[in-house]
């Protein structure tokens, strides 16, 4: 097995690549490269047919390196690696060459030059492939205990589901009782259930479940470790609690914006919907003329997004007011009514039938709240209206929880530009973080109604249960190796590492860097920064990278 035998597969990706590059020519070119004993083009290398071809070629041509020139490792590397593995080849002897994103897509108009560039990329890939070394994955045990942060509807749903499946759950809530945002709500749309009843039912179930330990008035102070083995410190008043967890679910919810200085907000005659709900709940609403204004503090330059739940919330409260006081007049000033799906559109219809008046305004001519009346330019009527009011209700958006950035730092997970937690992939991994072992659901991720929060909570429970069900996880071997003779213990790597995966420890040889394999994401920042060159990134060794650069510099055949 000493002879290096490389097989190269060049993908047409339909016309994604094949329409812009000379793909058969690339396969032919690949065959001319050193150590390449097999090369072929495929319509779709990732299709079952393409994968079978790779497997067969490995067997028939005794390939010990596989290069695929196609799309991106972000989506397809795991698949091709596992095919190599199925065929008996160490998966780390696989090399990806991206000729779609880096070639056909960006040079659509230049077929010849793009093909030349693709040749160079393939040449570099082959040069590196020759130097690849087999690597072994290691397995770590997963503690079958979940830490759920946040005791609102999402956190409680998630905790209950995992507990029902036999996993241990620690549910941490910063307030002195469970329920979260639901505690501030009166009734829930669209079925008018009492929020307090839902909280009571869920709280009872959570408290009676022997697998759940509820920690109220508690906050996560520190999280160390990695998937399967987190060391969690929770502060509960003066006390500190330490425990181990295998997975973490973030269900910390969101806050609603306080509209300070907007539309004459005073908390009495001009209130938010949260404040209105309290008035309704306590039966102290005393207003016959109510004007609701949507998109207060959202869909503007500072906060571009639509908060999704405010339109149905306004409909709900408007209907509740009309039910309590059929003679009351309720106006809803809106920009776009956002009532998607089967249930909310009907709800909108019901509101119109109830006699609630909807007036469309534009952001260029916003309503003005004056003493006793609201002036609004009705876009559809083309006229300015003056609406006297007893009460103005402002629909303010959900905003990220003020502690979300702090918690994100503790967990080493990202937040988006609005401070909401950022999932691993916006389409296909909506409740995962890119960091294995940590998951997100409910309004911590994005404004969501109760049904969505519950669905996502079950979703996050499912994802979190996978490593716990299996009981162990594999860790990628793409980690740095420290040359202890060269390491001076300066600690720069520890400072650089964004994943807390490297730390300097006292050893017999003095202060030396040590890698925590399970936390390492293989980013290579430590290796790039090491002034002593004591760190070698496995799978991305200097030798392999230099070989690529040399191959690039070669003149095309």
């Amino acid at each position: 097995m000493n002879e290096v035998r490389v097989g190269v597969f060049v993908c047409h990706c339909g016309t994604n690549i094949g329409g812009f590059l000379d793909v058969p020519g690339l396969a032919k070119y690949a065959l001319s490269l050193p150590n390449v004993v097999f090369a072929k083009d495929n319509q779709y290398t990732c299709s079952e047919a393409g994968l079978t071809e790779i497997k067969n070629a490995i067997a028939e041509n005794k390939l010990n390196r596989v290069v695929v020139a196609s799309c991106t490792p972000r989506t397809h590397e795991p698949l091709f690696r596992s095919i190599c593995k199925d065929a008996g080849l160490n998966p780390y002897l696989f090399q990806f060459v991206n000729i779609r994103d880096q070639c056909s897509w960006v040079h659509m108009q230049e077929r010849e030059r793009a093909t030349e560039k693709a040749k160079a990329l393939i040449r570099m890939g082959v040069a590196r492939a020759v130097l690849l070394e087999p690597l072994e994955e290691t397995e770590i045990e997963v503690n079958p205990c979940a830490l759920v942060i946040g005791g609102g509807i999402a956190g409680m749903t998630c905790a209950l589901s995992l507990a029902n499946r036999g996993f241990e759950v620690k549910l941490v809530e910063k307030e002195d009782r469970l329920g979260g945002t639901l505690n501030s709500l009166y009734k829930l749309y669209p079925a008018n259930e009492e929020a307090s009843k839902l909280v009571q039912d869920k709280t009872k179930k959570v408290k009676n479940n022997p697998n759940i330990e509820v920690l109220t008035s508690s906050e996560v102070k520190e999280v160390e470790g990695f998937i399967g083995n987190y060391d969690v410190t929770v502060r509960q008043g003066e006390k500190e609690r330490l425990f181990k967890a295998g997975v973490i679910i973030v269900a910390t919810g969101a806050e609603t914006l306080k509209p300070m200085g907007m539309y004459g907000y005073d908390g009495e005659n001009v209130v938010t919907h949260m404040e209105l709900e309290r008035m309704l709940k306590e039966g102290r609403l005393n207003a016959d003329m109510v004007v609701m204004i949507q998109c207060v503090g959202s869909r503007n330059e500072k906060r571009v997004y639509c908060s999704k739940v405010c339109c149905p919330t306004a409909l709900k409260n408007a209907i509740l007011i009309k039910e309590a006081k059929p003679n009351a007049q309720v106006f809803v000033l809106y920009r776009d009514m956002v009532t998607p799906g089967t249930k909310y559109e009907d709800y909108y219809g019901k509101a119109r039938e109830t006699g609630i008046t909807f007036i469309k305004y534009s952001p260029e001519r916003k309503p003005v709240v004056e003493n006793g009346s609201v002036r609004v330019y009705d876009e559809l009527l083309g006229e300015e209206l003056v609406l006297p009011y007893d009460l103005v209700v402002l629909s303010t958006p959900m905003v990220a929880h003020r502690n979300s950035t702090d918690l994100a730092q503790k967990l080493k997970v990202p937040v988006d530009e609005n401070g909401f937690f950022l999932e691993a992939h916006v389409k296909l991994r909506p409740v995962d973080f890119a960091t294995d072992g940590i998951y997100v659901c409910g309004c911590a991720h994005w404004p969501a109604n109760i049904g969505e929060s519950i669905s996502q909570a079950y979703g996050a429970a499912s994802r979190a249960s996978i490593p716990m069900s299996v009981g162990r996880v594999k860790t990628e071997p793409l980690i740095p190796v420290i040359d202890e003779d060269e390491c001076s213990g300066c600690g720069l790597c520890e400072l650089t590492c964004p994943f807390k995966a490297i730390q300097v420890e006292e050893t017999e040889k003095g202060r030396k860097a040590k890698v925590i394999a399970a936390s390492c994401k293989g980013c290579g920042a430590c290796g790039a920064g090491c002034p002593q060159r004591a760190i070698t990134m496995r799978h991305f060794t200097d030798e392999q990278l230099v070989a690529q650069v040399i191959a690039l510099a070669e003149v095309t055949h």
Partner: protein, 430 residues
Amino acid sequence: MEEKLRAVLVIGGGIAGIQAALDLGDMGIKVHLVEKKPSIGGRMAQLDKTFPTNDCSICILAPKLADCFRHSNITLHTLSEVKEVTGQMGDFSVKLHKYARFVNEEKCVNCGECAAKCPVKVPDEFDMGLRKREVIYPYYLQGVPAVMTIDRENCLYLTRGVCRICEKFCTREAIDFEQKDTDVMLNVGAIIAATGFDPYDPSGIPQYGYKRYRNVILSLECERLMCASGPTGGHLLRPSDNKPAEKIAFVQCVGSRDFKNNRYCSSVCCMHATKEAMLAYEHDHKVKSCIFYMDLRAAGKGFQEYVARGEQEYNISYIRGRVAKITEDHDENPIVWYEETQSSKTNKMTADLAVLATSLMPRKDVKELAKVLGVELDEYNFFKTDPLNPLDTTRPGIFVCGCCREPTDIPESVAQASGAAERAAETVMR
């Protein structure tokens, strides 16, 4: 404990069913994934790109298809339908009807030699009838399993007893006209319905002229036309004369928010129209798109920003107004008549192409399936759920996710799919 675990049946091999199956399989639970079509992939496989990142749809889906196919805990049943369900939560007996493919899945390598010789051509369903395919065909290029299928409705041999040309040219002896439909009995502890949607047929709104005017098309047809593996190789050409479409009218709420048709909002159309308009501009910078909408519903993560980018960088105009009718001039250019509500004026616009954002409806055969499953549907024939138990149907042990419970975008479908998997796992692990 593990030996006692019962399997889970997942009905529907689109993105929701696939995600539910993968989660359960990864938990160590056996899954039967049933798909009526010859390959899994569902509607997501038909899309060109996905909003709001414009990721290539099949590119992000394909690894999941392969994962499903290769997963040791997942058994795929393509060309199969659920015919009978008896028993109760924790112990259901399920009868599957598996239609003959007339191609041996083990032997076929999808080389296409057979199709090249097949003398009959019929409209291709996956490409929304915009292209003809042979009667022995791959459901779509990246389909899984990647094997050919013989369409029994149109095969000369199966309908008239003559031909068998494909059989002669198959070097691997994979064609098998002796294959029979079979019934498969399964025992499962829980069931997940993930059967997705069908687009509304706008023939019900004759004033829009769909099928009467060649340059009035559906959004899903637009997706296929823009897709590199679609019938025009990714060029947005108008069906009447194959000329590039430069002025495009996107007509929203076709069959949705409509008292005569579906009262509900289909949730995803504002965004996919924006996406299609963006992609059209990416293909050709001369493209100008107008989106005729009622309320712009862009409430998901990054959606408002996406719409703003569309307006600023992709030559898209959003016009608030419901389209009253579409007519056509002598060059077959669609003329869109609408009321511009901001100015209360009636107006018309001549375009090269009109794209109808048709509502997402339950699959046409959903009533039969609901009957087999013994679950209730809501007034629109989506699977009935309760807002506080959003993934549970009316029958214990049967769960639901994705567009068959309500029109839903991909991320929400995926989150629900994982959620339905969790509900099913709770049932079988108890």
